[in-house]
């Protein structure tokens, strides 16, 4: 197929391959009008075709090299695929996401502060209860000891027994307080856990036990 050099009004722009350049035919000028040397034109056509062919070969070689490098980077875990990296992000979307994140954090911070206050209170109460119980147990123990020292005779046996009963009760009470506090603080922790938990579908995805 040949291309007329004067075919410049053709609607479809055709790719100028070396082969096309070589095979272009120029219409001859009418006799008597000045024109260029047809041999020189042909020579130039061939030079041009050669240059373009060389350029194309070079292009292909470089493209292959780029592909090879991209494969190498891919296989070494580096992302060089430009399509995966949208160059610009929508600033409004960024700000919206930022605002949502801050909102969520405000809720979390509030829950944590509440939790800190409650556990602090609970701890102080627990310590007060325990030390109070301890003190009472100590006093009771001292009373028992005093009773035993002061009156070893039988009239006071009932009193001593009563004291011992109270001591045993106080020991049990101390233990019960401790058990109760453990249970209460565990139950409390579970409530706090609920506060801190993310929506179900989010946490499900997050479980990453390998």
């Amino acid at each position: 197929m040949t291309l007329q050099a004067g075919d410049r009004h053709s609607a479809v722009r055709r790719v100028l391959t070396p082969e096309r350049i070589r095979s272009i035919t120029f219409s001859r000028t009418p006799l008597g009008r000045r024109g260029v040397d047809p041999d020189e034109v042909e020579l130039f056509q061939h030079r041009l075709a050669e240059e373009i062919a060389a350029g194309e070969a070079e292009n292909a070689r470089l493209r292959a090299e780029v592909d090879r490098l991209r494969d190498w980077y891919r296989s070494h875990g580096e992302n060089v695929d430009p399509v995966l990296l949208p160059r610009t992000v929508n600033v409004e979307a960024v700000n919206l996401l930022s605002e949502a994140q801050l909102q969520a954090e405000a809720y979390i911070a509030q829950a944590e502060a509440q939790c800190r206050r409650l556990t602090g209170d609970a701890r102080r109460q627990a310590v007060a209860l325990l030390s109070d119980a301890e003190q009472r147990a100590e006093i009771a123990a001292q009373e028992v000891a005093r009773a035993q020292h002061a009156s070893p005779d039988e009239r006071h046996t009932a009193e001593v027994e009563e004291m011992e009963r109270r001591l045993a009760w106080l020991r049990a009470f101390c233990h019960a307080v401790q058990v109760q506090l453990h249970a209460a603080s565990d139950a409390f922790a579970q409530e706090v856990d609920k506060l801190a938990q993310l929506p179900e579908h989010f946490t499900q995805r997050d479980r990453r036990r390998p």
Partner: protein, 363 residues
Amino acid sequence: MPLFFYSTLFLTHPQLREMFPAGMSAQRDKLVRALGTVVSNVDDLDSAVPFLQQLGRDHRKFAVTAEHYPAVGQALLATLEHFLHDDWTPDLAADWGAAYKLVADVMTAAAGEDEQSSPPWWNAEVLRHERRTLDIAVLTLRTDQPLKWLPGQSIAVETELRPRVWRYYSPATPPRDDHLLELHVRMVDGGAVSSALVQAVTAGDVLRLGAPVGSRLTLDHGNDVVLVSGGTGFAPMKALLSQIAQEPVPRNAQLFLGARTARDFYDSPALQALDRALPSLRVTPVVSDDPRFPGVRGLAGEIAARYGPWPGREIYVCGSPAMVAGTQELFHAAGVDAERVHCEDFTGYQDPTEAGIGLLKRG
């Protein structure tokens, strides 16, 4: 600016969101500050290299891989572009891009090297969970793979109950052939990880452990030692004493064991065992908040400094940040050279990333 950075990162790469905890206020500054500091120090990158390598290794436990780095770099550049507006030129973009690439290369290379010798994290099954007091638990764990640490070092811990939130704890045992290790955890009011570890975790649960970090509380000399602990700050001291008990050359050790009340001495059997194993060990229990306590009353650091100045001895301090700071001051006031007082910059309370940034700023 960090907020914009993370939002950009998550919008362009939504799959990265779940690598971060729900609340990110604390997390937010870390990455960008580390990046910003490093990138602005890029003229003197040599001094930043060890920090970057450590950062790269540390990030393995967050399941960060080489593919994640370009996404972060891109979000960083987008953030800078947004804030610099007209000042953002192609030249500047190229400079920042190149600088970030250098940083990412150092980090990924260090992480890749680390891959040869250790896993990104260790899974550790809870074998025993003992609630020793109202707010202290002793956990016995077994790692799925051998994990080596030096007594006094700290290990980052994550529980599935608080995904993607890591806290540092110092094991109370030296490494063992049976892969067992012991953690002492005190519940911090409102503390996400500590409350889960004390109250919710039970035997059979699996925790994740990061690679050991820290060098301030390790034994790198042959001198006698004075150990001062508050609460669960006893954990690294117990590990150090176990190490001393195994050493061929005996050395003297004096332990000041601090607690609020006598009830808070949560590890008495271990103390008795150490006492038997180490004839040179002297233990002084010190109670701060219990007027009926028959023994020594006050702050452990106060008593230890008063018994000073401990010539020729190295002093190890571990406890709450307030206790550590107070004890450091007391020893300083007692004329003890600061170099002899060993303490982690808030061991178990601070991310080494932060410490690294501090280092860079000073450097």
